[in-house]
């Protein structure tokens, strides 16, 4: 055991990052939840206030970026975090923020998701660092993430620029031993001093600030050259240049190689890289996704007149798609010594049922999907869907997503579908999604006279990312309480004429409302309101109720399974029964049963 008396904990990457910003004395933090970054927000919801930090779930990533920018311009250390696609939303303020920069340290975390475990794409946000001309750091492990996030604040303040902090799922959701450090005492409130040249980017100032930014990037390059996060280890004539979690695979599975591990990855330490390549027989660049390092290494080699062969994605030695793993390193056997593999067991010769993620038992989305199907009948409909648990409605038996692009994209695209086709268009949006970016497309649709039906699935929480509050639920944490903003009031306030709110557990009423909404000649909005049972369970306010099938009344028609498809409904040898462990007692299955054979157990 270590003689060190500092507390050590086995922390999730996201917990380590949370700890890092507290130790760095951050005074303002903001986010819009998104996997794999969500746990940071769940942590801060609980602990920000007692650490003197203001934390908010902003309505979307752009607002989170803008508010954190303002805090840092005022001199308060700020932290804004989001998943990779959230950065697309926040990119507009971010790219101009770089021009005037910040006073207090600011760190912008992007949680990328190679292999798209919980995302609609696997974009590589390191490219944003080049586009925005921002310094960037990339940790490999939870312990390094904590150290790096703290040092990022010093770098940010030295450069007067925000720092991009790029993680991936296998850092955010890795767990490792992290040592507690001291909390830096930094003022959590400041006073904004006017500096029009820096912070008012009218064209004349923007041109000056562009030069300022380019100059600061030269200084950033010097910091990168000297950074302790860019280091070499190991010995060998084969050189491996790597960053992020890939470093951990290289370190454990490659032998007899010299490693240049890069943690400060924009700007790159060009001199260090050239020096590293000088005496090597060959170079292998190991990084996930785009050849971000590799292309620059190729350029640095050329400019340094080095003829060493550089292997990577451009030579087809390594894949561009999907996250890396130890297996990807083993496949480099033709280039370097790799650790001996274990021979995996053969796959058992047995047919296994697939187990896709599915909507939970008692999920209110099942009720609305069934109602829509009933109301639509044989009409040809385009389902313009969105990001959330209801994306799972794309699967059978509902098949209720013909297109998913991005947050708010369902309502936005519906206008286009309705004008470009003669098909009926139904858009889906979640409640949190509606507040994120569903209001403006509704305004635009009304303005342009689009005719479609928008369904807003109000399950009273941001469910998919782990149940965060949103404007529609009101805020009740961090010593601050706000009223909920009613979706119906917003929609009516915009001027939509057909607005109805319905409880999806009341299947018949929902079918009726949906039938009228679809027939309506104009823009119709249906708000489907019923709290997520998982959220109620989490808050310990779910009334425990369980249903059962009266086998004497059941005619084995399977209508319940075909309509609601709840995982609590089990069919074996033609007999339907209800799993008491899973059932939430919502009775949606009972309401579609033609024989009233399903009842709540008294």
């Amino acid at each position: 055991m270590s003689a060190n008396d500092k507390k050590k904990e086995l922390l999730l990457g996201n917990d380590a990052i949370t700890r890092g910003i507290i130790e760095a004395g951050v005074g303002f933090a903001s986010t819009y939840p998104g996997t794999p970054s969500s746990e940071i927000g769940n942590n801060l919801e609980k602990i920000a206030e007692k650490n003197g930090m203001f934390f908010e779930f902003s309505s979307n990533e752009k607002i989170a970026m803008e508010s954190a920018s303002a805090a840092a311009m005022s001199g308060v250390r700020s932290f804004v975090f989001m998943k990779h696609v959230g950065m697309n939303v926040a990119a507009d303020p971010m790219l101009t923020l770089a021009y005037g920069g910040v006073r207090g340290g600011m760190v912008i975390l992007t949680a990328d998701d190679p292999s798209a475990h919980s995302s609609q794409n696997e974009q590589d946000n390191r490219i944003y660092a080049k586009l925005a001309l921002l310094p960037m750091l990339e940790p490999s492990t939870p312990a390094e993430a904590k150290e790096m996030v703290k040092e990022s604040y010093d770098i940010s303040e030295e450069l007067t620029l925000p720092v991009l902090f790029r993680t991936t799922t296998r850092v955010n959701h890795a767990r490792g031993i992290v040592e507690e450090g001291d909390v830096k005492d930094v003022p959590k409130k400041s006073h904004f001093t006017r500096d029009i040249k820096r912070f008012v980017n009218i064209p004349a100032n923007a041109r000056t600030n562009r030069i300022r930014l380019l100059e600061l990037n030269k200084k950033a390059a010097e910091l990168s050259e000297a950074s302790r996060f860019n280091f070499t280890e190991g010995k060998g004539s084969t050189g491996v240049i790597t960053s992020g979690v890939s470093y951990t695979y290289v370190k454990e599975w490659m032998k007899n190689v010299s490693i240049l591990k890069l943690g400060f990855t924009n700007p790159l330490p060009e001199k260090k890289i050239a020096e590293f390549m000088k005496d090597k027989e060959k170079i292998i660049v190991v990084e996930e996704l785009e050849p971000f390092l590799e292309d620059q290494v190729l350029r640095i080699a050329k400019q340094s007149n080095l003829s060493v062969k550089i292997h990577g994605k451009r030579t087809d030695d390594l894949p561009m798609a999907f996250e890396y793993s130890p297996g990807v390193i083993s496949a480099l056997r033709h280039l370097a010594d790799v650790a001996d593999d274990n021979v995996p067991l053969a796959r058992p010769d047995i047919a296994l049922p697939p187990r896709p993620p599915t909507l939970c038992a008692g999920c209110p989305h099942r009720g609305i999907f069934h109602a829509v199907r009933k109301a639509v009948g044989r009409k040809e409909v385009i389902y313009s869907s969105d990001i959330g648990c209801y994306s799972l409605g794309a699967q059978p038996p509902f098949m209720m997503a013909d297109m998913i692009l991005c947050m708010g994209g369902g309502i936005g695209a519906a206008g286009g579908f309705s004008e470009a086709t003669d098909q009926k268009v139904i858009a889906f949006s979640g409640d949190s999604t509606f507040f994120h970016s569903g209001i403006t497309p509704l305004v635009s649709a009304l303005f342009n006279g689009h005719k479609f039906t928008a369904i807003i699935l109000d399950n009273r929480t941001t469910a998919m990312t782990g149940h965060q509050p949103h404007p529609g639920t009101g805020r009740e944490f961090g010593g601050r309480r706000t009223e909920e903003i009613k979706i119906e009031d917003v929609v009516r306030g915009i001027g939509v004429k057909f607005v109805e709110t319905v409880d999806p557990y009341d299947v018949k009423a929902t079918i009726d409302v949906m039938t009228r909404a679809i027939e309506y000649d104009g823009l119709s909005v249906v708000i489907v309101k019923r709290a997520c049972p998982l959220e109620l369970k989490r808050k310990k306010i779910l009334e425990p109720r369980v249903c059962e099938v009266d086998q004497d009344l059941c005619v084995k028609c399977s209508t319940c399974i075909l309509s609601i498809a709840c995982p609590a409904l089990m069919k074996k040898d033609g007999i339907v029964s209800i799993d008491k462990e899973q059932c939430m007692g919502c009775m949606m299955c009972g309401r579609v049963c033609p024989k009233d054979a399903i009842k709540v157990i008294p």
């Binding site: 475990h117 049922p353 909507l359």
Partner: protein
């Protein structure tokens, strides 16, 4: 790195925990990870969060040792596969090699594709024999039933943790694992979990 390990290879033990969202796979990996840390080992883990937890397959990787840093294991690297659910155990057998000890809970959780009647769930004997054709190192346990004996089905994960601690060559002492479990569960469930752990441990030692 490992000068102190002059007696041979540095210590390393890899556990893959497989199951279904909601079974307590993450809690089990935390229990074992904390116990390993308390015993002075280094620990690197990776977990599945987010979408996959909505009733989907869940995999948690736990790597214990002197020099571990990677959160992912290589194919076949597992020393132990802790299978919380039989079909998921069959599905993930390639995480192990011929020396890997497989502990398989025999109590199934039917996926939505099976409950809806669109796919078949294989029989228990069929699953056991399909694994036995590729390895002899399998021990089965009825963890959910044992947990019910202990008081509640949800303690099945404690039964599985107890079973893991009983396996020959398992690098963590029983008391360290048991202590770590009781440390992590809420006080009012401590007795239940202690009982479930012991039932799992004793079942494997029979």
């Amino acid at each position: 790195m490992s000068e102190r390990c002059d007696k041979g290879d540095p210590m390393k033990y890899v556990i893959q925990i497989v199951g279904v969202g909601g079974q307590g796979v993450l809690l089990a990996s935390m229990v074992l990870g904390n116990a390993a840390m308390a015993e002075g080992h280094n620990v690197a883990m990776s977990e599945v969060h987010g979408m996959a937890q909505r009733g989907g397959s869940v995999l948690s990787t736990l790597r214990i040792g002197d020099n571990v840093i990677s959160p992912l294991a290589s194919d076949g690297e597992a020393d132990m596969i802790l299978g919380f659910e039989p079909a998921e155990t069959c599905r993930n057998i390639t995480l192990g090699n011929k020396s890997t000890m497989i502990i398989m809970n025999l109590d199934p959780i039917y996926p939505s594709t099976v409950t809806a009647g669109s796919s078949e769930y294989p029989g228990t004997d069929e699953m056991i024999s399909s694994i036995k054709k590729v390895t002899k190192n399998i021990m089965t346990i009825e963890a959910t039933s044992l947990a019910e004996t202990a008081g509640k089905a949800v303690a099945a994960n404690a039964v599985m943790i107890g079973a893991a601690a009983a396996v020959k060559g398992f690098p963590l002492p029983k008391d360290a694992v048991r202590g770590s479990l009781l440390n992590l569960v809420p006080e009012k469930f401590r007795e239940l979990n202690a009982k479930a752990f012991d039932l799992g441990y004793d079942e494997m030692r029979k």
